[in-house]
């Protein structure tokens, strides 16, 4: 039997190789795993499943979260568009998902997941998944989507998310007021923890329809222990079912 066939020798060799590998990682700079751990230690802990339901904050509606105090100042184009808007053709009645600035205030649960290069927001409402990129990437040219393109960075104890590249959306402001949003829409969200609460201030800009930026602040509470988000699976027939109950705006 050769010496190298000895189990003891093999184990020793494995240990030696592992030790050398670890040493080289420590000396050699910042491989991905080490960088990620360092970053995780520095970032605020927003991870978890969060309750944004009606017992945590007032349920959304025509005057919530946009009240008389923070309701957006529409420009002439916005007022005109709002005037001709017909609720019956709102995309939500075809299961098009809610988007910013309305989505975070929808009275459902959401989950925040932290990865080294991104934060993911998963919403129970409409099964929406948003990725917020932390790696400095630029928005792709001419790529516009319902949820836009989100990049983020940390400022002290807050995560700041900036989202652009939205499609033109005839109800892109909220579900209630018939206010559109354009490709110029920019939404900034600032998330931070206050005790067990998750808080957020959202600011929306859209010079095509708004005279000035508009903001609201809201909160979430931790979901019950072990709660898992339900799937939404919007049913297209049920989404449109009640539309027949409206008096038509145009005949």
């Amino acid at each position: 039997m050769r010496e190298t066939d000895s189990p003891l020798f093999s184990r020793s060799l494995v240990c030696l190789v592992s030790a050398v590998a670890l040493l080289s990682v420590s000396i050699g700079g910042s491989p991905v795993g080490v960088t990620a751990q360092t970053a995780e230690a520095d970032v605020p802990d927003l991870v978890g499943v969060w309750n944004g339901g009606g017992r945590v904050r007032p349920v959304n509606g025509p005057n919530m979260p946009w009240t008389s105090d923070n309701f957006p100042m529409l420009n002439g184009r916005g007022v005109a568009f709002q005037g001709v808007f017909d609720e019956a053709i709102a995309p939500k009645y075809d299961c098009v998902p809610s988007s910013l600035p309305a989505l975070p205030y929808d009275p459902y649960f959401m989950e925040v997941v932290q990865w080294p290069d991104r934060v993911m927001f998963r919403y129970e409402k409409d099964d929406v998944l948003r990725s917020v990129w932390l790696d400095g990437r630029e928005p792709p040219l001419n790529e516009y989507t319902v949820q836009g393109f989100s990049v983020g960075h940390y400022e002290g104890d807050a995560l700041v998310v900036e989202t652009t590249q939205f499609v033109f959306d005839i109800t892109g402001f909220d579900d209630y007021n018939g206010i559109p949003s354009s490709q110029l829409k920019k939404v900034t969200e600032r998330y931070w923890r206050e005790g067990e609460e998750l808080r957020m201030t959202l600011t929306v800009e859209d010079p095509l329809f708004l005279r000035e930026p508009a903001s609201y602040t809201t909160r979430w509470l931790p979901a019950p222990e072990g709660y898992k988000l339900n799937t939404y699976e919007c049913d297209a027939e049920d989404a449109r079912r009640a539309v027949k109950y409206m008096i038509p705006k145009y005949r």
């Binding site: 009606g54 025509p62 709102a90 579900d175 919007c234």
Partner: protein, 151 residues
């Protein structure tokens, strides 16, 4: 001591009992363009179907209209994902169940929609108690209140 605990528990259930109520405006649309909240309609009939879905569930009831004719009423309820947190399942109400619904009627002439409805047994007694805290409570003892809470 056990008896006292039991009585206390039942009292808590009565106080905290959840509602069997329809929630039309669960972040999807306002009820105002669809339903007239200045009017209220009472329908007593039999359940013919229950779609427990998102973004809105619908309950179908065979009952009389204003002219005494039998029609199918379509009762708009909340999103299944929200109702399930209050203990609802697709089995909560079944075809053939007798039911009484009081709600706002749909606006378009000739339609038979209802929303924002309170659902009870035909005699006004509760259908069931759905959940208290994390526990499903199999009692048929519940206060009926109107609320706009989502959960």
């Amino acid at each position: 001591m056990k008896l006292l605990f039991w009585i206390s528990s039942v009292a808590a259930v009565v106080v905290m009992g959840l509602v069997v109520t329809g929630f039309p405006a669960e972040a999807h649309h306002s009820s105002a363009p669809f339903y007239d909240d200045a009017q209220e309609v009472e329908v007593v009939g039999t359940v013919t179907g229950f779609n427990f879905r998102n973004p809105h569930s619908f309950l179908y009831i065979e009952g009389e209209n204003d002219d005494g004719e039998m029609v199918e009423w379509e009762v708009e309820l909340g999103a299944a994902v929200s109702m399930s947190r209050r203990g609802w399942t697709r089995e909560t109400i079944k075809a053939g169940d007798p039911i009484r619904v009081v709600g706002n009627p749909s606006r378009a002439p000739g339609t038979h929609g209802l929303c924002c409805a309170e659902l009870t047994q035909p005699d006004g007694s509760p259908i069931q108690l759905v959940r208290v805290g994390n526990d499903e409570v199999p009692l048929r003892l519940v206060a009926v209140i109107r609320t706009t809470a989502e959960e």
